[in-house]
Symmetry: C2
Subunit: 315 residues, 2 copies
């Protein structure tokens, strides 16, 4: 499960809690703070929790930064983290900072729930469909953006993408990673979701396998469609598949929720989330009888998700 | 305050939560895990919380360890952390690990409380006395122990201590740091404590000042007695006072609780804790009228706390 659930001594309540920290991957400290916050909260949202009661921030400040860098970068990261916490209706009441050569940033998200306020992830049934709420390709976009300054790397992909493609994809990835999965968590209740997980470091297939493995019913997940930030599939191919993006192996940061929904509710779920937020979700697969595994079909359909989605409003 | 207190949406309950992580300071990974767990929980105990509902573990695993070192050290640290969590009546349900050049270890402790289950730290009144539940000098003991292998350092202190003194003090410090402040938290309720804090990185005086600064009443803290692990005061003096131990400035790890208690209850508190645990506590100061500061008198009485305290039972 994405978050730990601990029954409390008080009237049927449960403590739902998660922690995560990692290394910065975008060059804007403020956005990095937001991404971290979204990523931590995502574990709660995957459990259908919509309200986080409290957050803590965990910082590993780099010894390699100059005093000036530190004084600029750290407050901006903290600001981003706090601002997104506020957007999520929660607040940051504490935390801890230590020095280490490598910069790390993370947090803890905690909520106290009644049983109907969270959704256990293990109730998928044959006939459900799988919905994904953010496009794949964040890692490829972040790497490609870094390669703009590394001619050797850039030469490998410049035949399939322009610099402008990469900058747009990077922006798209950054705002996608900083977007909360909260609306999706709310709609999981409305549309009777049977379970969900959030797609992060193990890639789509890794997390699909994890989710499949804990199911109560004898089911398996089959994925047919891969919604991917525009041009990132081409980059992944041009790199001789080093990311494994089309195999669902490319790591994502603060990715979408992968949700098992009753077939007849899934389209309405996707429509509702788009109406509320202006972002697409996709039906990417089905739940069939099986032995609790997950796979991607041989030739999945790649859905190119344009980088200009809501561009006008966001950047 | 040592822990954050967040009112919850559910029937008068509050979320009390804290996080802490730092670098290893003893050479026994199992004990290091225990010390970390005791240190994290101590923030809850300082609030009079006796039951922790859930813990998370935070590990920064060093990239400089060989695979073999990592495979031995990390599980032992985790084991120590979990074992002490169990002793404290709680459990570790999750956490996160990242790589970094410097090893760090820490955790998160969370509990959900009714109002009578925690004690706000800001109610000290004139006439209270201050009790300390563990001896000072952990940092000096840990450093002196490391200096056994550094002739240049060792030469500075070998006139005032023997190698055996240092080994005993180190052992005493290690077991003191790994000891829970839970009994003290329980007895804070029984003896009507008016507030407490735990003594850690800012040293006795630093934490006394913090606690004084948040008081509701116009009070100040005056400290007369310094219970110190045997011989550590002598080492601190021999080092030209670089630790500031006698000035209350020496950092402590997982130190005791500093508690403001009604004068007529303090002796009974100390007796009770000794009866329950076999460890001494000390009345170290008084609360007088003042402007929310703290100080140590000019020539405080140093209480040498023998290293052999409960030796037979513990090591």
């Amino acid at each position: 499960m994405d978050a730990s659930v601990t029954p409390l001594r008080h009237g049927g309540l449960s403590l739902v809690q998660t922690t995560d920290f990692f290394y910065p991957l975008v060059d804007d400290p403020y956005m990095m703070g937001k991404i971290t916050c979204a990523n931590v909260l995502s574990d709660l949202y995957a459990m259908g929790v919509t309200d986080c009661d409290n957050m803590l921030m965990l910082l590993g400040v780099s010894t390699k930064m100059s005093d000036k860098e530190r004084d600029v970068v750290v407050p901006m990261m903290m600001r981003g983290f706090k601002d997104l916490a506020e957007e999520a209706g929660t607040s940051v009441t504490g935390g801890q900072t230590v020095l280490n050569p490598w910069l790390t940033i993370g947090g803890v998200a905690t909520t106290v729930c009644q049983p109907n306020e969270f959704i256990m992830p293990d109730n998928a049934v044959v006939g459900d469909v799988l919905v994904l709420t953010k496009p794949l390709g964040t890692q490829v976009a972040v790497n490609a953006y870094q390669w703009l300054d590394q001619p050797e790397r850039w030469n490998r992909i410049k035949l399939v993408v322009t610099e402008d493609d990469v900058r747009k994809a990077y922006q798209r990835a950054m705002f996608s990673m900083a977007r909360l999965n909260r609306t999706a968590a709310r709609l999981m209740h409305k549309f009777n979701a049977h379970g969900a997980t959030d797609v992060t470091g193990f890639g789509l297939l890794g997390h699909a396998k994890n989710l499949a493995s804990i199911q109560k019913n004898e089911v398996s997940f089959v994925i047919h469609n891969l919604p991917i930030i525009a041009k990132m599939a081409a980059i992944s191919k041009a790199c001789g598949n080093m990311f494994g993006l089309l195999q669902g192996q490319s790591a994502e940061t603060s990715g979408g929720l992968l949700i098992a929904l009753p077939r007849e509710q899934a389209a309405a779920f996707c429509k509702d989330i788009e109406k509320t937020e202006g972002y697409q979700s996709w039906i990417i697969g089905i739940v069939e009888k099986g032995n609790r595994t997950a796979r991607i079909i041989d030739k999945p359909r790649v859905i190119e998700v344009p980088a200009k989605d809501r561009e006008g409003e966001l950047w």
